[in-house]
Subunit: 233 residues, 2 copies
Amino acid sequence: MSTVSESTRTPPRSASDRPLSPTDRSTPRRHRERGRRDRDELYAVLDEALICHLGVVSGAAPIVLPTCFGRVDDVLYLHGSSGAASLRTGVGAPVCVTVTLLDGLVYARSVFSHSANYRSAVVHGNARPVTDPAEKLAALRAIVEHTTPGSWEHARQPTTKELAATGVLALDLGEASLKVRTGPPGDEDADVATGAAWAGVLPVRTTFGEPAPCPLLPAGAATPSHVTERAGA
Amino acid sequence: MSTVSESTRTPPRSASDRPLSPTDRSTPRRHRERGRRDRDELYAVLDEALICHLGVVSGAAPIVLPTCFGRVDDVLYLHGSSGAASLRTGVGAPVCVTVTLLDGLVYARSVFSHSANYRSAVVHGNARPVTDPAEKLAALRAIVEHTTPGSWEHARQPTTKELAATGVLALDLGEASLKVRTGPPGDEDADVATGAAWAGVLPVRTTFGEPAPCPLLPAGAATPSHVTERAGA
């Protein structure tokens, strides 16, 4: 049973229907052809990256620090010690979170056309401190499962004291942009014709090595599958 | 033959003698034990990393963008299109350049003690636009040779027009800090005693794949050793 107003209402859009790049500062100006507008592509880049770089302003100067993160739908969560300056500075203030996947080094026929293949997400917004206990726990779970999948159920979960010692920031993914470069170098025709130099792409990959067990583990302790499977990936 | 004043003069210090962390903001507050003070360690991290993240302030908000870089002694060089907003915003203004090498994911017995092994350099300063042609050329050479070693001599070097189209920023490495975490997780004794969870480090590595030649190369063009040797590394 629905009223007219309900039936004509725009259905709730899933997060992935939200367009990217709604503001000027999140719209790439250089190399516009590298800009992407698909939110699922944004999610894929965020989900693949192991760390992000958090930018805050302190005084009139920027501070950029690497940190782990997680995502729940259209919200990015960052955490750190509740006393960490970067987290405190970022509370309620404008922040920028950038995630970069370097996919390849582009060797061109001219040094000017040298480039890199990459996928880079830039998120702007005012970070919100997460104080609700349920959201904080969900955020930490997202961060742990993003960084070390399988660890949330395998390891001991946080105590009330540990939760209090952890600061969590939430950043809405509303104002986000994604820039992607793929493919061979874009050399000038004259340089291609000359044919004097090699050109191509050297792929760059992030891989996992063999797990190094903690020396304090009991002798013969087996490495669990959520770690070994990742190492083999 | 030397005068007294010469023989008692303090010898010129090499750049690597400059201490790190001379200011409050470049001194790590959290996990002080991870702070390093050796300038050669800073150089090693900068030289190993393929990209950096440049932070600038635009309005009151931070912008963080990935970019390539190079180093000459105690100066970091960044480049981009001379019209790029991030470079223009960074000219003469406070910037922060952060370089992060992720070395491992640290699985602990508690999710609270999960961590990452990393080496992260943070450089603060006012960026100086490089306008002197000789310094600009040397800076570009440093960036190219840092990112794609061997390319400067192998590929066509920049024309006057290309040089004009390239903006270069210089950032002194005077105010820089280096933070390093290594080793196994730092679990609580009680969690170690319980022995319920696996703990250890999953190494993270950046590797190069097989070079993908540009489709426009002549058939049978050999891939030069400065590329193949890197791929095999």
